[in-house]
């Protein structure tokens, strides 16, 4: 009986501990949300979404150029990183030899652990310096590098989940390997792949460091792919450390918009993956 009581108490204690830890994990997230919303909501107005920034220290203006800039950068990064990542994932799970596959997998894991500022400096030295110009393209290049490992690994995992029977059935029906891969396997693995893509988009959307020395920032509307471009996280960074109250206020509004858009992206990915084939 005594033993039973002790075990029961231990059980209760451990359960309480896990509940506490769960709350503890959620606490930062919730407090960030509450804090950013309370600080930012009052500064969000029509101007914020439609106006260009005002000169330093003057009240008013908005971040319209930065919001559009961020969307363009993310779009362009996706344009090259999604095909590269997905096809890389297909290669890893379907075609790779053991040795090469392990090497690629290991490289991808290392790459996903490289700090984003390092990727920014890399893009600066291989793109910006030879081209003698900061540009939207170099920013998209840096962001794309960050996206690839995530997309590749999740695609690979998703394809691994596709039952072998399906593959064999398709081949048995005389469908060639290419069509089997694209039409059957990749299609079945689509929800998982899309999750990976969405997660990587959500991640790069908030990246500041790789853009500092590539996209560089722009006070005006974007002017083509070979010119510097504004981005929301960059603008927030500049505004947040400025000594001007109005800019600090707008930085909070920018943070709120950034969190909101990232939230929408994550939510979309959840909705897409819920709809199983």
């Amino acid at each position: 009986m005594n033993n039973y009581l002790r075990r029961k108490i231990t059980d209760k204690l451990m359960r309480a501990l896990t509940v506490f830890c769960a709350i503890f994990v959620l606490l930062p997230l919730i407090s960030i949300f509450v804090y950013v919303i309370s600080k930012g909501i009052t500064s969000i107005n029509i101007d914020f979404f439609t106006q260009l920034p005002k000169p330093a220290g003057e009240p008013g203006g908005g971040m319209a150029n930065a919001i559009i800039g961020s969307l363009i950068l993310t779009g362009m990064a996706s344009l090259w990183a999604i095909p590269a990542g997905v096809l890389g994932g297909v290669y890893l799970s379907e075609f790779s030899t053991n040795k090469l596959g392990t090497l690629i997998r290991f490289s991808a894991d290392v790459l996903s652990g490289v700090p984003s500022i390092v990727i920014g400096i890399f893009a600066y030295s291989v793109w910006v310096r030879p081209m003698k110009s900061f540009s939207a393209l170099s920013g998209a290049f840096a962001l794309g590098i960050i996206m690839i490992p995530t997309i590749m690994r999740t695609t690979e995992e998703a394809i691994r989940m596709v039952p072998h029977d399906l593959r064999e059935a398709s081949l048995a029906l005389g469908i060639n390997r290419f069509k089997t891969t694209i039409r059957i396997i990749l299609k079945t693995a689509m929800p998982g792949t899309i999750t990976g893509v969405m997660l990587s988009i959500a991640r790069i959307f908030g990246e500041t460091a790789p853009l500092l020395f590539t996209a560089f920032g722009n006070r005006f509307w974007h002017q083509g792919m070979t010119q510097p471009i504004a981005a929301l996280p960059l603008q927030i960074f500049v505004y947040a450390i400025s000594p001007f109250e109005d800019w600090q206020r707008q930085a909070w509004a920018g943070a709120l918009v950034l969190i909101g858009l990232t939230f929408v992206i994550s939510l979309t990915s959840r909705l897409v993956t819920k709809r199983k084939i």
């Binding site: 000169p55 969307l71 779009g75 939207a136 920032g217 006070r219 974007h222 792919m225 000594p243």
Partner: protein, 346 residues
């Protein structure tokens, strides 16, 4: 699901096409550098966009060190700095770079001392006292030498916390240039540069960081650009100049410092304004320069840059006072305009 992807893809692609259309309309000229003149530069570029609608000037304040680096790498069309480029740096750049002064500003000693902030408008500092505080020799606020400059002020028995910049900075350059000028010990022990090996103190990033640290730390003293102290309502000290007068940093006293050096201005404008001889001149002042290549390889950009520079040193000067920068005197403006006319646009 396919539909959703198509929509998302469609939106992105149309955005990219739209941006391509925009590209044809405007010429974008990029610059980077000093944070010290950022408020006035952003004002200028904002106003100038209204005057010449065919060109936009995009300026990113990444620090003087970054400005020198990027112009040397030719990744930007112009740079900006508050500490002139060294001969070595100029040589490395490969082509001739002009230093064009735009405005002058003051670096002020700001402090956080609740006990005295009510009794008097500002504390007074002799040059040797400033040097010894930053060398760590004067450790307490009630030190006899501080008290000597501030008769009647009840200084607290509190430790002095020195705050300096942690990053490469033109503001630092102006300040340590001054300390090297007035203190032999500083010159031999620490020297000058955009970042130095500080004997004591805490580091803050940017003028913003130092301002923040001083605000939060009772008993602290740091140096920031005048407008940062004013905008954040921090007190700042009067400094004794060569003539022996305690001078409050202001637009007027900075202009006086500039006036004192105009006649002896070297032809490349790389001059320090610290420790001027004028009787009412504030001793810790500095110029801020725009850096451009003498040979402009892009004709369209070169012409626009020349036009803008001429505007900045003439009509643009009227925006300086509001932002607490000292405008350039007329005699200097003529010299700068002559220099600008030497820029070759191919």
């Amino acid at each position: 699901m396919k539909k959703l992807l198509t929509i998302i893809g469609g939106v992105f692609i149309s955005l990219i096409i739209v941006s391509g259309v925009f590209a044809a309309k405007l010429l974008l000229i990029n610059g980077a550098g000093a944070t010290f003149p950022y408020p006035i530069y952003s004002k200028w570029f904002y106003e100038y966009a209204k005057i010449d609608e065919t060109v936009n000037f995009n300026y990113q304040s990444i620090g003087s060190g970054g400005g020198i680096r990027q112009i040397s790498e030719k990744t930007v069309d112009f740079g900006a700095t508050d500490g002139p480029m060294t001969d070595e740096q100029l040589q490395k750049a490969g082509a001739e770079i002009f230093h064009l002064p735009m405005v002058a500003g003051a670096v002020v000693l700001t402090y956080n001392l609740q006990e005295v902030s009510n009794s008097r408008s500002s504390l007074r500092f002799s040059p040797d006292v400033v040097a010894d505080i930053f060398l760590g020799k004067i450790k307490k606020w009630n030190d006899g030498r501080i008290a000597q400059d501030n008769p009647g002020v009840n200084l607290p028995d509190k430790k002095i916390v020195v705050v300096h910049r942690s990053d490469g900075s033109g503001t630092t350059f102006i300040f340590v240039d001054y300390l090297s000028e007035i203190s032999g010990a500083w010159k031999s022990k620490v020297g000058k540069g955009t970042s130095v090996d500080w004997p004591v103190g805490l580091g803050g990033k940017g003028n913003e960081g130092v301002t923040g640290l001083v605000k939060q730390t009772p008993g602290s003293i740091g140096y920031v650009e005048l407008s940062y102290a004013v905008k954040n309502k921090l007190p700042y000290g009067d400094i004794k100049n060569i003539a022996g007068n305690f001078i409050t940093p202001s637009l007027e006293s900075t202009t006086k410092a500039l006036d004192a050096k105009v006649d002896t201005m070297p032809s490349d404008f790389r001059v320090s304004l610290v420790n001027p001889s004028g009787k009412d001149a504030y001793p810790i002042a500095g110029l801020t320069w725009i850096l451009v290549y003498k040979k402009q390889n892009d004709k369209a950009k070169g012409e626009k840059i020349v036009k803008f520079l001429n505007w900045a040193v003439t009509d643009g000067q009227k925006y300086a006072a509001d932002l607490l920068y000292a405008p350039l005197p007329n005699s200097l403006i003529t010299k700068i305009q002559n220099k600008i006319s030497e820029i070759q646009v191919k």
